[in-house]
């Protein structure tokens, strides 16, 4: 287990994170949830930037706050809106990265900067949002890290830039023994990339599921009031009142398709799961 949060707690004035999650070796794990759900706090706990008030946070088998510089070489991180000073250029940060990471692949880094259209001599503060995001991900992946912790790496990017970054992450995962923990507001990004995901809201994990299972077994039933009343609710996870009657999220799509063929069934997507799990009530 590369990352383990066990009943980790962090309290702020009007917010409390109570969360357990794991990132397994060879897995891309997504953390999804609405704004203010606690995703960034969870990432900060993992990166040792904040201290848990209860529970346990371990990274690479050690307490997050006790990671040494050597340990940190095995971790690549992206934090939203933060990185190297904007007064530096890529050429300035090259020797910094070279002296910090023994496995920094300078040639590869420079080559990819060229591919991504990142000028080496321009100040980072003059970069566009997309260029800054690409630079952050490149910085995280080009030192053979075992674990990537990426908080909103694709935020504010256009489709092409997002695809470039997602392709880079897929390439990063090729060796098979690496792991990624990633958060994104764009569920489509995560659907195509993650092996499993955690849904978080108001500081609590609402759901943990394999992405394949979600796409194969989850579905949203759309039904009238009468159909809802007659429905077997055993496999219904959440229900939401709609103008036409009810919509309901299930993790047993096949069961309802076979037993209630008259009810409209939509294939589950991450967006549906987020919406229903956050806004829906108990079935």
């Amino acid at each position: 287990m590369l990352v383990r949060l066990h009943e980790a707690e962090k309290h702020y004035d009007s917010f409390c994170l109570q969360c357990s999650l794991e990132v397994r070796e060879g897995y891309v794990t997504g953390l999804i949830g609405p704004n203010g759900a606690g995703k960034s706090t969870a990432f900060k706990l993992i990166l040792g930037l904040v201290c848990p008030e209860a529970g346990e946070v371990s990274v690479l088998g050690k307490t997050a706050r006790s990671l040494t510089s050597d340990d940190k070489e095995a971790v690549g991180a992206v934090l939203p809106g933060s990185g190297f000073s904007g007064y530096l250029s890529i050429r300035d940060i090259l020797p910094v990265l070279k002296s910090m990471y023994r496995d920094f692949q300078e040639e590869d880094f420079i080559k990819r900067c060229g591919q991504f259209g990142l000028p080496l001599d321009k100040k980072i503060k003059e970069f566009s949002t997309g260029m800054k995001a690409k630079l952050k991900v490149l910085t995280a992946v080009t030192h053979k890290a075992k674990l990537l912790v990426l908080d909103e790496p694709t935020a504010g990017l256009d489709v092409i830039a997002r695809d470039q970054i997602l392709d880079l992450l897929r390439e990063y995962m090729m060796p098979g023994d690496r792991s990624v923990l990633i958060s994104s507001h764009i569920s489509g990004d995560l659907e195509g990339l993650c092996d499993d995901f955690y849904l978080i809201d108001s500081g609590k994990i609402l759901l943990h599921e394999e992405t394949d299972v979600l796409l194969e077994s989850y579905g949203v039933l759309k039904m009238t009031e009468e159909q809802y009343q007659a429905l077997d609710k055993e496999w219904i996870l959440k229900v939401k009142r709609e103008p036409y009657g009810y919509s309901a999220l299930t993790g047993q799509r096949q069961y309802y398709m076979e037993n209630y063929p008259e009810i409209t069934m939509e294939k589950g997507s991450m967006d549906d799961v987020i919406t229903m799990m956050v806004q829906g009530g108990q079935g």
């Binding site: 190297f84 904007g86 007064y87 530096l88 910094v96 990471y101």
Partner: protein, 218 residues
Amino acid sequence: MKGLLIKDWKLLKNQGRFYAVIVLFALVVMAASESGYTFAGYYLTFLASLFTLSTFSYDEENGGTGFLMTLPADRKTYVKEKFLFGILLTGGSWLVSCLLSAVFLMLRKPGENPLSLIPPMLGFLAVFLLLLFAAIPMILRFGPEKGRLGLVGMIGIFTLLLIIISRTAGSADAAVESLKLVLARYTAASVSVAVILYLAVIQACYRISVRIMEKREF
């Protein structure tokens, strides 16, 4: 540590033009002044310590210090690097200042020994390094802006103390004379005590800075 030092050096280099103007300004003031041989001494040394503090602002920009803490550099190393960078930069600027002052002295008063500049120049170095090291924990605790204000405040208090001491000294000649006598008799011991006290204060600043940094959340 090396990576962080390179980062700060690159930041300094990128502000090179600004510092070149400052050095030029120091040269002009020294050339215009008849007796201001040591102007560059405190001016450049002070600016070097101020630049060390400004690297905190560059780091803090958009929460960048938190990002730096995700790199292979722990919190203690971050503090250590700032102290070392401060010593290297302030010390380096001080050496340049010494050279400038000596050159000006030799040009203006060829007969005078340039070594006579050493005591005041050493004094500037000691004071500005001390102010820098005292400001670092304040910056780490209260942020770059308030920390720098604190530094300016400390300089103000220090200046005020000097004024008070010099005025009081006039009205208490006997006490000053006897203090001078004691210092003259026990010069080595007095210097040793002063150096030990000075180093103890610096070490305390360092330890407090490390403690603040280790407790800090990003």
